[in-house]
Subunit: 480 residues, 2 copies
């Protein structure tokens, strides 16, 4: 049964992108469905991707002086309500605990949808002096949001993420932190996940509940839709005032500190699948791939093949490569298909002929390119190939993002271009939410961000929607 | 304020052990209290201990072929009820989610108290053939148990742990796994936490809900009480039958697989504090200490001191030691007390005289022993000293455990010895639960385990309670 399931066809992405995606995440055994809607199982192969992302980010966070903590899972309703914008944003999608054992609780408790309120409550107890600042905290955990429609990795009712929370004496220091952490995420997308992005600032209508500024990386999926891949928020002192967090500054005066938060979740896994995948399954970027290289012995019953293949495996492992061997009694052809469907970046084949000639054959998942490698060179050449694959994947995705981002001068243009070609549309914009609403209504696209690299419109540019003087450029798109 | 709190006295453990413990975990900033009873904050210094335990265990688990996964936080009530013993054990202390957003749920969902039911549900979907076995899974997460009385690290309503869950074709293979994972824990206690233990099997009355066998490591705290430090369970095929997990064996027949689970939690942190701590605070075992060495410059305003101290720090860090420097304007005496109160295993002092003579002074937290070290030897000698401290701490605790474990022939003896001297009592036992109940009633001690090393009573020995022929030796004690 399990095996038959594996050789079932994956729906072509051109025919039905949503079904392609569901096929890929289930067939590759990345995810499992549980008995509760929107609660997914991260199976070993899916969770291992998250572990690699965790290891990368956790290292970066710590290098920059952040410390990990663990905050409670549950938030009293009264605590959630302290910051008015925040509660308005999250209360409608909270899961509520009302009974502990057989006893009904006096106050109901919400399972954290995010933990700003818990960090603030803790800091209001523990921060007194400028000497206590900055606080640079992070936690790895899951959060709950009771969404109506859910999809694997993309939108879970429970999802895994990290949430960083920091508190600073000065506003500019907090803003710098907000920008720095967006940059950490951007580097993670570029260097680990081989995913290009447009970095920018959210418009006011799309900010996080309670934030003064929200920064984002917006990625483009292979159906042209946008994925908000991470966010970093600057809160000013709004939460500090709501939670009465004060500190004595160097002059002895009481002041409110300034706060940030920033998060990246398992959505990033949806992102890498929908950026790099093809009709044979996911294509794992080598640096995050749970299995970077699979060694497949060919005609392994012949003398010496099995030993040579195992020696090859050990050489790869000793070189720090996440390698595995498949010595099962399935046919080589079956195995080729299997690891293609799993998205393993590089397959190394080794048969009796190869061994005679002191070589093996390496096949790249991303484009099927084959290369003969002298067995003696394997520990040097394979890491090079993995790097080449990484850059090839990033370049390919970057070209796609660039080729599918179009400029438009008017809302009619935007509508026409988007309905014909999809992708992202760039226009100048007056700064008014009413124009965002109209763009959504007419062209079915929403503002993704004001791009950092291209925020200022040309001199004399006007809003594509209302024709008034423009204050910013905006990237628009349909979003997951 | 924060600083004043730090120099407050810690209650003497001889005067009030419980208050000593609370003082230690709060003053050393290991834990914080949240707004919900029994939900604690693991502050950076406390969480870093857990991260070190995680890194050690996660490496061992993976070496032994286990894979990490992430299962849902919530369990439908009907799923929890499938295995009758299991639900009876856990339902009374479940926290229940009854609302998702504004909507009342059709079936209430329990926040996982443990995840056997979720793993079983997943396996009933995914296991079909003997080729799918064994499944060797683990997850790092938090679980909830709605306890009446709670204490930092010892008994939380929410606590962090890992839970391993495995499924095997053969019973003996599952039993071997159960024993192997207890051994992994035992090694963790000995090699990482410098804690001795008595390994053994729980009596039937004290088994995990639904288990056929439960193995445990029982540690002795400095007040003589027992801490159940980890458990490993063999389930037989009871869960498989309840959840209809079957596989086709090599002969093509349907069979039920055999199952295990095993867990170690943040209780281990309570254990290391109550094993090693003294009246000045916790004493961190070096291998798990978040800060292994603190460098304290003396007379740091003198030329060259600060530079030499930083060079020393960098040498230590380059040697793979978790070292920090305190260059604050507090006095050296204040700093000595501060890091003593934090339990940092080794303090390295460096003043102008020392620098002239090319040496520094190292002071061991565990016993105050001082040693002069040539600065040139620091990268070799400090790791040696940390290892010496580790063994000294283990030996000291092992002597304590041994000195406070007494044999008794009758229940009257047991009662007399326990009330005079505390600690553990070893007796022969007939195997009847009624005798356990009587021991509890008369001597106020419960069975901790049937010790592996000393399970079989002497020939002709009789139960200390009823006088009938004994089948096992039992270790009794009062337990946290």
């Amino acid at each position: 049964m399990a095996k038959e399931k594996k050789v079932e066809q994956i729906t072509d992405m051109e025919r039905d992108f949503a079904q392609w995606y569901t096929d890929v995440v289930t067939r590759a055994e990345l995810i499992g469905y549980s008995g509760v809607k929107g609660f997914f199982i991260l199976r070993p192969y899916g969770y291992a991707i998250w572990e690699n992302i965790q290891a990368y980010l956790d290292g970066k966070f710590k290098e920059l002086g952040h410390e990990n903590v663990s905050m409670p899972l549950l938030i009293p309703e009264s605590l959630l309500q302290k910051e008015k914008d925040h509660v308005a944003g999250f209360a409608p999608e909270c899961a509520w605990v009302t009974f502990g054992g057989a006893e009904e609780l006096e106050e109901r408790l919400c399972i954290r949808p995010t933990s700003e309120t818990l960090f603030c409550d803790h800091w209001s107890d523990t921060v007194q002096s400028h000497r206590d600042l900055p606080k640079l905290y992070n936690q790895w955990c899951s959060v709950l949001r009771w969404e109506k429609s859910t999809r694997p990795f993309l939108r879970h009712r429970e999802f895994l993420w990290q949430e960083g929370h920091t508190l600073h004496a000065a506003a500019d220091e907090a803003i710098q932190e907000t920008e720095q952490m967006l940059e950490v995420y951007a580097e993670c997308y570029e260097n680990l996940l081989a995913m290009p992005f447009i970095k920018g600032r959210k418009t006011d209508s799309d900010k996080f509940a309670g934030a003064e500024r929200t920064y984002t990386c917006e990625c483009m999926m292979r159906d042209g839709k946008a994925l908000q891949a991470c966010t970093s928020h600057y809160f000013g002192d709004g939460f500090a005032r709501a939670f009465e967090i004060t500190y004595q500054d160097k002059e002895g005066k009481l002041a409110y500190p300034h706060q940030t938060s920033w998060g990246l979740s398992t959505r990033s896994i949806a992102g890498l699948i929908m950026t790099h995948g093809d009709n044979n399954g996911p294509v794992m970027p080598p640096r995050v791939a749970p299995i970077q290289v699979v060694v497949i012995p060919v005609a392994s019953h012949k003398p010496g093949v099995s030993e040579a293949a195992r020696a090859l495996l050990n050489t790869l492992k000793a070189a720090g490569i996440r390698a595995k061997i498949d010595e099962s009694d399935n046919s080589p052809g079956w195995k080729f298909a299997e690891y293609e469907m799993r998205g393993v970046p590089l397959r190394v084949e080794l048969g009796p002929r190869d061994i005679e000639m002191g070589k093996c054959v390496a096949v790249r998942r991303v484009d099927g390119a084959k290369e003969e490698i002298a067995i003696a060179d394997i520990a040097i050449r394979v890491p090079e190939i993995l790097d080449e694959i990484h850059y090839a994947m990033f370049e390919k995705a970057a070209r796609y993002l660039s080729a599918n981002t179009h400029s438009a001068a008017t809302i009619e243009d935007a509508q026409a271009i988007y309905s014909a070609r999809g992708g992202f549309i760039k226009t100048a914009w007056c700064g008014e939410e009413a124009c965002e609403d109209k763009m959504k209504e007419i062209a079915s696209i929403s503002s993704r961000c004001i791009p950092f690299d291209d925020a200022v419109p040309e001199r004399g540019a006007v809003c594509a929607v209302c024709g008034k003087p423009a204050v910013n450029n905006v990237i628009w798109g349909a979003a997951y």
